[in-house]
């Protein structure tokens, strides 16, 4: 099997954008090619597009050929869209990785994005009813936003003693990391007091515990090692391992809301393929759609013991200089969360970290990790990246 490298990455501006979905995909594609001038649109033989709400909010299906056309890409190996809601981008990277590894494709652009802010603000929330089991969970008004995670937070607090302050610390850290990110939605620091006193969204989650609704796109280019050697002069960054696990979808079938078994399974597979343990990961971009998510993710990814996610952030272990720097580019809490774009944004940051050209570098990182959960904590996606030594 061939080795697969990530050789370029770029983003559109993220936020509440005065732009359509296709325009943002163009911006992201251009930024990606500008990131590595050694690769052009003529070198791309495949395109995988990641987007979840294109039919509902951009009134467009059959999206991949439209994006290919708008970026001057003529594909030969693959041209299709992948959807796994919040993990669409990471899923598309896994698909491209598999196709390149097996020889079906050589150089693939993976582009993901979302247009979530429409003239009617309610439209995005309304659409989220079809992102859970529509007929049996969505029909109760359960979309993606805070309800389920607020209950998870309460249960985690009861069971493990996690505090609202510890949750707020995730937000303070990620907002601080985000101030250097010119493409992110928010670039203001907040202090603990501001986070603690913010408007309640769904108790115990307050405004800064929740990521916003975001428009934006991002793109990366993956290539087989043989071609990557000619298409970049930077240190090669490899995809070392992947895992994607779903154990249930409907709320009635969840076994334990605070223990995310699917994430343990997905990450253990990814670590095993990469031949590493959680201790090797020095930088990670995890799915901080809510602050409590990041806390549980520390635990299930093996960065700390189960139940100790709260103290882990409180003691600075997930910050620069700690055991593993998490969400070094600001995460979803700062950058925002255009579903299809998020996993790709994470991949860009890890690539830059491992090449030593991030906005703020984690010292001596040889391995990095990205993680998303999607739906109502229904699926877990993990990728491990490593640089050549």
């Amino acid at each position: 099997m061939r080795k697969v490298c990530i050789i370029a990455g770029g983003m559109s501006q993220w936020g509440i954008r005065q732009a359509t979905l296709r325009e943002m995909f163009q911006e992201a594609g251009k930024a990606c090619f500008e990131d590595n001038p050694m690769v052009t649109n003529k070198d791309i033989d495949g395109l995988i597009v990641a987007s979840a709400y294109t039919e509902r909010l951009a009134t467009q299906t059959h999206l991949a050929p439209l994006i290919a056309e708008s970026l001057g890409i003529k594909t030969r190996s693959v041209c299709a869209r992948v959807e796994l809601l919040c993990a669409s981008g990471s899923s598309a990277i896994i698909m491209a990785y598999g196709l390149i590894k097996s020889g079906v494709a050589d150089v693939v652009m993976v582009a993901g994005g979302e247009k979530l802010n429409t003239p009617q603000k309610w439209e995005a929330f309304y659409s989220q009813l079809c992102s859970v089991d529509h007929d049996f969970d969505g029909a109760h008004g359960l979309g993606l936003p805070p309800a389920a995670l607020a209950m998870v937070a309460k249960l985690h607090m009861k069971k493990y003693g996690t505090t609202e302050e510890q949750m707020a610390m995730v937000s303070v850290k990620n907002r601080r990391n985000g101030i250097n990110n010119p493409k992110g939605q928010f670039r203001e620091c907040i202090d603990l007091n501001t986070a603690m006193c913010a408007k309640v969204v769904a108790k115990p989650l307050k405004l800064y515990d929740c990521c916003p609704l975001t428009d934006g796109a991002a793109a990366v280019i993956l290539a087989c090692e043989e071609k990557a050697k000619y298409l970049t002069d930077r240190p090669l960054v490899y995809i070392m391992g992947t895992g994607q696990c779903t154990l249930y979808n409907a709320s009635a079938n969840k076994v334990d809301w605070t223990s995310w078994e699917a994430l343990r399974i997905a990450s253990q597979k990814a670590y095993k393929e990469a031949g590493i343990t959680p201790d090797h990961i020095k930088v990670a971009q995890t799915h901080d759609c809510f602050t409590i998510s990041e806390i549980i993710e520390y635990e299930e990814l093996g960065f700390c013991k189960k139940g100790e996610g709260g103290p882990f952030v409180e003691s600075g272990q997930s910050d620069f200089g700690g055991k593993v720097a998490v969400n070094t580019d600001g995460g979803l809490l700062s950058c925002g969360h255009p579903f299809g774009g998020t996993g790709i944004r994470q991949a860009i940051e890890i690539m830059k970290q491992l090449q030593g050209r991030a906005m703020r570098n984690v010292e001596d990182a040889q391995f990095g990790l990205t993680q998303n959960f999607s739906g109502m904590i229904a699926a877990q996606t993990v990728l491990v990246y490593g640089r050549e030594i």
Binding site: F125, H134, D135, A147, A150, M151, V201, K254
Partner: protein, 165 residues
């Protein structure tokens, strides 16, 4: 109960809040027929014994089609609840009360709590099934559009002190 008609003539709306119903559109119509009789039911596999929720037409465990409808308890216990103030999907009242409810001997799921006094619901409270009519399904049969009546359900506090009637 507000539905999609609120937006008629204002915006192109394609979201249907509720499941398709009517024997022409679903094979689990007994679930809805039973709701109408105030029964909370689901399917159980006669071959392997697996109780499925949502109800199925094929057992997800052993893939048998030999399933039977069984009654679930109509009363459950609140494990945790949340009052959603922001981002409530249109068509649902704000604040929206959702609770993780344990249905004894079956499962724990997230369900909407209606007829509940604001802030009254607590972990450990008993809640019970409450069935209501929702927007009909305007179905085309040839040149005719026939309205197929639909029902759905939520839970409500058992304690009359916590209930708005």
């Amino acid at each position: 109960m507000r539905g999609i008609s609120r937006l008629e003539g204002k915006y192109a709306v394609t979201m249907d809040l509720y499941p398709p119903q009517g024997k022409e559109f679903t094979r689990i119509q007994p679930f809805f027929d039973n709701l109408r009789q105030n029964r909370f039911t689901t399917t159980k596999c006669k071959k392997c014994g697996k109780l499925s929720y949502p109800p199925r037409v094929i057992c997800p465990e052993c893939l048998s089609e030999d399933l039977e409808w069984v009654d679930l308890p109509k009363e459950g216990t609140v494990v945790e609840s949340v009052v959603e103030e922001i981002g409530v999907p249109i068509g649902f009242e704000t604040p929206l009360v959702l609770a993780m409810v344990e249905i004894p001997g079956a499962f724990t799921f997230i369900v909407r709590i209606i007829n509940c006094k604001p802030g009254a619901l607590q972990a450990g409270d008993k809640v019970r099934l409450s069935v209501f009519e929702v927007e009909p399904f305007p179905a085309e049969f040839g040149r005719e559009t026939v309205e197929i009546a639909r029902v759905y359900f939520a839970f409500e506090p058992v304690d009359p002190e916590k209930r708005i009637n």
